[in-house]
Symmetry: C2
Subunit: 345 residues, 2 copies
Amino acid sequence: MAEPTVISVDSLLARVTSIFESCGVRPQSAVSVARVIVAGERDHCKSHGIYRIEGCLRVIAAGKVVPDAVPVLQDTGRAMIEVDAGGGFSNPAFDAAVDALAARARETGLAALVIRDCLHFSALWHDVEALAARGLASLSMCPSYSSVAPTGGKEPLLGTNPIAFGWPRPGPHPYVFDFATSVAARGEIELHRRADTPIPEGWAMDKDGNPTTDPEAALAGAMLPFGGHKGSAISTMVELLAGAMLGEFMSKEALEFSGGTSLLPRHGALVLALDPATFAARSGRDPIAEGERLLSAISGQGARLPSERRFAARANALSGGIALSDAELAQLARFESEGLAAVTV
Amino acid sequence: MAEPTVISVDSLLARVTSIFESCGVRPQSAVSVARVIVAGERDHCKSHGIYRIEGCLRVIAAGKVVPDAVPVLQDTGRAMIEVDAGGGFSNPAFDAAVDALAARARETGLAALVIRDCLHFSALWHDVEALAARGLASLSMCPSYSSVAPTGGKEPLLGTNPIAFGWPRPGPHPYVFDFATSVAARGEIELHRRADTPIPEGWAMDKDGNPTTDPEAALAGAMLPFGGHKGSAISTMVELLAGAMLGEFMSKEALEFSGGTSLLPRHGALVLALDPATFAARSGRDPIAEGERLLSAISGQGARLPSERRFAARANALSGGIALSDAELAQLARFESEGLAAVTV
């Protein structure tokens, strides 16, 4: 078997940016989108790496995203800031607003960013890491497509509804978690279907509400929320806060709007940013040092912190580059030469 | 067997308030504390009902709470409001600040309430319901005593760290969830120990980190977070946001400070309030009506919403009164006649 080809993070970023630019994405947005995709690849988070390019190009080819949308910041000076993505990808909108969000959080203690009318494909850890790098704690969430049944029900209604949290640490890496509120991601079931292997018990039910380990039956039925009724409640909270409260689509409407799950969902997103320095000021204690006491105690008993594997992969990629397979390189080359003609909708 | 005695909600509230007053709690605080206790009893949430009176009196008798503390509001006009409970119970502090919190959330879109230096014994749903009654979504959380091992570890470090969420609904009852981020509450293991019955698998591990169904071994070991590594991450977030970020005790420090779990923990609490009307305004949609579409779809497929049982019990209690056993009535009478002398520390 051929050795994988190694490419530097910066080179990959330049190539992916260029692919998006050549497909009509405005340059500033192309950088935003490429950055989160390359960050996923860099962190060996393959499900959110260059694998995502195709999905982004397909939605452009289908005319379901506005590639040259210019995010419009709406800031009335309150603790809530809005950015209208104008039917474009979410990342350029987040990038256009993150500094305003951080400044407002520092000024007033906490602030919220509402992203309106965006297409979402990226992991949320990118957003909370950007805020942690600015010294802020944050919580980010968004709906997705209905695929998860609430506990006690059997019809897909909730999305996989990811939720991410970031907390600044003194070293290079913050405390970050980012996970679906379903037991598994839909893509994991899809991988089992392709491999013709059963899915673990507890992931899903068939269309009649019976537990199933058959990936086909699971995809036709509903996934289960993580952690039983508690996870179901948290997923419901994500629909309410990042959907209903914003007046943006919840997962069911996003699915109805798109007519299927083959293209990226269109909805809103909510990011809360909190300034530990403001919150702790009156106590006289250093909140970051306090946090370290907890986090080092977790590590000290041999438990792994979330994102540790990702950060290790990142360190390797930054020093040694990213290894891509021949198939991945061939696909990149095809996107470069053919642009949108390389994808089918 | 004797019929239980039925007492009206108002009568019980008057009696419990009077017990706290006679034990040195300032009148306004006595009402605050009694109200949440009677609300628990009214909702047939027995673990947070009049059963809690004894724990409150014990902490007064031990001199570990300041019964006549006057909560001091610190409002610098920002989105974060603080109230110093002054070593008193948390409820009077919350009651002293809830209107300011609600007003600020409406004004600026979202606001946070920090409760400092309080003793906590009540369910959090009381707080989020109070905010839902004011038209606000909210999220409330606090640390507790170290009793839960982070996933991958085996030593108790995290608390049972409850988290509650409220969302306003048009009818009499909001959408509310409120749960420990551990699989089970510590009290449930204690009940199994007293009954000499095994606990279910997946609740706890012994002191060597092995899974156990022996309640004694579980109490000497560590409880598990709900939902595996995801619940563990959420519990860690509660420690960071409602402990480290505020410069208040996390669960480990609360335990070290108290020297054991026999008295109520002393720490802070965090409540976030969000105004759906503000968040949705630019969308032109009614966020509460949007929320109803989701919540009615959950109910429509036969799934129960969290807190439904509690609301049903409440309706019964408000119309038909609260049934108390002879033992419960005898204990109430003893508290009324003997005050703090009725409890041992």
